[in-house]
Symmetry: C2
Subunit: 313 residues, 2 copies
């Protein structure tokens, strides 16, 4: 007898998040068996080389067959295709979930295709790195990070409890909220930051008066912080902006308004107003550190290396 | 006989940068004697407790007396006051420098007050952390970071060579450029990133629909990266924006233009254009890693701690 929460876990899409779930679920004894599916034969083969699961499937439906929990770990633009593929194979009582950064769109894409006798509970672990693919995942990715679940009135409480226990078993804190609220909250804490980071890196690359070489050399003045986020997976992020359009445009409008006010303060030399904002923003940083959501070490704890190492050499 | 490059170094302002220079200069044997001045009696006393120098002075002039190298390590808005204070005390042939993030304004503020028989060579080490004060400094801060020097036609070559050797002795790479060019390059690699970071943190704090608690909890989705920079010293950064107004407004204009284009692409669902930008921005990140200007470890190498530690408890 095992203490596993689920007997068979199916992971559809074995990238950074999918492979981190596979590792964390295995390491913490949360499942008996892991079935892995991926559209890409190359990635599926790599997952097998890494020994991330017990079986490997080109078809999401085959992986979902007789699974107790199926998690779609794909860009949000692919959610509907996954729902269609797994629907005919789902066993009664199975839980279907996902890890997408947008929840309203995922619900609209998946719900209509899923049978009534399964529990559909969308989820989003707010965790990640700038790297992609099955090699990039690690078992500790979700530790002390929040995973947001979006049950609705129809969700079975026991199914919800099991999914909460699964995420908690991987070290995550769990919070439930509506898909709509999730999409607004994440628009400001994740989507807008990515948009701004992509944008400033693009602006820097396009300046005629400053060379790319100068931008890279002197990036330690602050710019480099943005380039990490702007190195995130392009497909995933394209889909986020296309699928959370309204909430992103809403917070972007606020950002623009505030930025114009700041621009005006600089133009007119209103130092007091600048100082006030720059003092206020420190409070939020302190709150994040108190919550353990970032490292208190200076400069993110980056190593200050005596000898530069170029990864390309 | 010592191998020191300078006999007496005077540091005016013993915050993050000043105290890092004190530590690095001592550790690398670059100077025989360090004289420290600070306007704040509390900070001066702390510097003495930390043993950062050989003598401690309430007056910048006293510290500068008989110094071979005087470095102003103050917010750029205080540059003129330092020049006035040290000018009557400078010995002939002394080198006067600074570490300000803006160079054109510093030249305009300091040059008129300095005697003709000293060498004035503005400098800017592109390095720092989000913490301030004499405790925040460390000897390795400048290792493998660029320090920019801004000599002009009148600069004595031997004086420049000695200052280059001093920065190289602390582990820095040195590059020379005009003050005007510096201010444009840093506007994009440092000043605009800080402005954007301050702005997005302000926007998030002011949203009525999302609570500060939610912003902090779910900050690992990207937002937290910006809060580090937005926790930087408010006085220093107020002065940067007031003193590099034109270059900041120029690159900010470009940023805004690009952001409106991106906003429009999101509104009209132009996924291909989003994908193209998000792919292009990865190249810049790779270049920064190749130059050793950031850590290749995922997520800046942040620790993924099994047990959350709240610094306030």
């Amino acid at each position: 007898m095992s203490d596993a929460i689920f007997s068979r876990l199916a992971i559809v899409g074995i990238g950074l998040i999918g492979s981190s779930i596979a590792r964390a679920a295995r390491q913490n004894g949360l499942v008996d068996e892991i079935a892995i599916a991926d559209l890409s034969p190359v990635i599926l083969e790599r997952a097998e080389e890494l020994g991330l699961g017990d079986s490997y499937h080109a078809s999401a439906g085959d992986a979902a067959e007789s699974a107790d929990l199926v998690i779609a770990c794909v860009p949000v633009g692919a959610a509907e295709a996954v729902a269609k593929a797994i629907a005919p194979h789902l066993k009664p009582g199975a839980i279907v979930s996902d890890v997408g950064s947008v929840k309203g769109s995922v619900v609209r894409q998946m719900r209509p295709h899923l049978p009534d006798n399964v529990q559909f509970i969308p989820a989003h672990p707010v965790a990640g790195t700038e790297y992609s693919g099955p090699d990039a995942g690690f078992a500790e990715l979700f530790v002390n990070r929040w995973s947001i679940l979006c049950p609705d009135e129809a969700t079975d409480v026991r199914a919800l409890d099991r999914l909460v226990a699964f995420w908690a078993g991987m070290g995550a804190n769990v919070e439930c909220m509506s898909a709509e609220r999730h999409d607004l909250v994440l628009a400001i804490t994740s989507h807008l930051p990515h948009l701004i980071a992509y944008n400033i890196v693009g602006t820097a690359a396009d300046l005629e008066k400053v060379t790319e070489s100068e931008v890279m050399k002197f990036s330690a003045g602050g710019f480099r912080d943005f380039t990490r986020i702007a190195a995130s997976d392009p497909t995933m992020w394209r889909d986020v902006f296309l699928h959370n359009r309204d909430a992103v445009l809403e917070v972007l409008g606020r950002f623009q308004e505030d930025l114009f006010a700041l621009q005006r303060q600089i133009r007119w030399g209103e130092g007091d107003k600048l100082y006030d904002l720059f003092t206020r923003t420190r409070t939020i940083r302190r709150g994040i550190l108190t919550l353990g959501q970032d490292a208190p070490e200076a400069d993110f704890g980056r190593a200050h290396r005596p000898v530069p190492k170029a990864p390309s050499e």
